[in-house]
Amino acid sequence: MYVSRRARYLLGAFMALVLVVMYFPILYVARLSFNKARSFAWPPQGFTLEWWRAAYHASGPREALLRSVETALLASAIALLLGTLAAFALTRHRFFGRNAVGFLAVLPIALPGIVTGIALNSGYHRVGITLSLFTLVVAHATFCIVIVYNNVAARLRRLSPNLEEASSDLGADMFQTFGYITFPLMRSALLAGALLAFALSFDEIVVTTFTAGSGFETLPLWIFNNMFRPNNLPLVNVVATVVIVLSIIPVYIAQRLSDGAIGASGR
């Protein structure tokens, strides 16, 4: 398709504009973390490191960060297991209800978070489980399954069955084939899926509101509880900036792993 030069420039300019709009709020928050005045009128005034110092000493954000990491790690691990199993099951076998199972896996992420949240919460109450790290991890794992599933399934579909057949022909049993052939080829998809699942769980707040124990503050909960407090808001800005900067690493890794093809589907 021939795209005229003018069209190229226009599209390029639009792209740049969109990027500016996308990053402005993020850079604004980062700038505010150095803001002298506590009022956030535009334009920002002054420059100070006191909020960074305060954040370093504050125990609240640190604990919340640890809790978020803890939850996300556990949830991603479970999602990794379940998603991979499901991916193998659905790509390698044909059976009645195959599409239904795929649909089922998508539901936790396609239905609004508040629905998932109150459903799980009232489910827990019925069965008599008190909210805790366990209930939270179960909730997060549930909507992360489909992320891993999509990544792994996409990769499995691309894998030629010839390789595995050749391996069997050469005398390897199922487990050997999996360990020497399939798994190494799948590894990067697993990692990409796990990273995306981690990201989703780390930033999640809606389902978390309903499934976390009463004292259990993940980072998003900590942010919400403090963002309206005039004394703590500058801390929130600092924490947010740190998270943004640190996230460059996993995003870059995830991108490289997907070989230039990105998205939750990992295609």
Binding site: A37, R38, S39, F40, A41, G60, F95, F96, G97, H125, R126, V127, S214, G215, F228, R229, P230, N231, N232
Partner: protein
Amino acid sequence: MRHANRLAVLAAALALVAAACGSSSKSSSSGGNTTVPTGQQTLGASEGSVSILAWPGYAENGSNDPKVNWVKPFEAASGCKATVKYFGTSDEAFNLFKTGQYDVVSSSGDATLRMVADGDAAVINTGLLTNWNDLDPLLKTKPWNSVNGVVYGVPHGWGANLLMYNKNVVKPAPDSWGTVFDASSPYKGKITGYDSPIYIADGALYLMKTQPNLGIKDPYALDDTQFNAVVKLMKVQRPLIGEYWSDYLKEQDAFTKGSLVLGTTWQITTNGVQADKTSPPVDAIIPKEGSTAWSDSWMIDAKAKHPNCAYMWINWITKPDIQAQVAQYFGEAPANLKACPLTAKGFCEQYHAGDPAFYGKLAYWKTPTAKCLDGRTGVTCKDYAAWTAAWDEIKG
């Protein structure tokens, strides 16, 4: 194998449905016991921790302002590590307290009796309270914190809902609640209201004074006609509102930045705005029609996991020196009148602590019931469920 799979799935699903149908949800109990209930007899040793559910400002543990902290000294003195959860409205308090995860709660009059009726509140043994005798007799064993002489709540303090205004923007200075109900207000979009069904009482109070033909005697006892008139007034107010508030800090933030300039508030919010050097000058008054108000009591969970620490907390928070700190921080009249000499000069006079005449003029939060609270028989009044449903509609 195929059939087995399908059958297994079906069986699991059926089992789930059966389980879901079979188990009954927690049903709330109604009414009291037939025998006279008594509270716990002795104060034992500290259990090591206590879970406090409080109005913001009542149990400061330094998380808001590191210099304001009377929870930490409590922990040191009692050996009870305290976790504090704040709530914004009585409804939140009621629902949170119902979960049974909190040992002690500071409850306003529109929640106390609901908690008692729901079976969530324990009888208080006043013999275990070290400061009971010093508490203002105006507040002890009253209809909102006791039932037939049985005490369920220990008074904490009381105060009025005020009208706060931005002195630079709102001119001349308002003296009536009419300014927040005025359909042609010049401050449209910058007015605020309290985000709870109980705020309807403020509208009722205004109509009580300005439309006497409606015959409203008690803002919490409204029959059909009166209620419809009040709801209509609240709907007139709705387009004027920029934001409703239930988190007082959100209101404080908005007044500081100037996105709100007029509306109902608590003294602590005004104090916060005035303390911030960057905020416009504000003032808070009780308008000429009077105000709705709240009178708070500490209640202990009927199934508290840490009852001893709960009593220790109540003994701590009702001490004169702590009462002086809390009352001045929040901006309310303390329940323990021995706190007054410990406060700044003129503080207790300003808040009319121990003044029955002034106390009688305010309309304290109480739960509206179908049985009219103003004593009328022959008509049914709107109960709290109706107020809540109306609030959904008013917010639109």
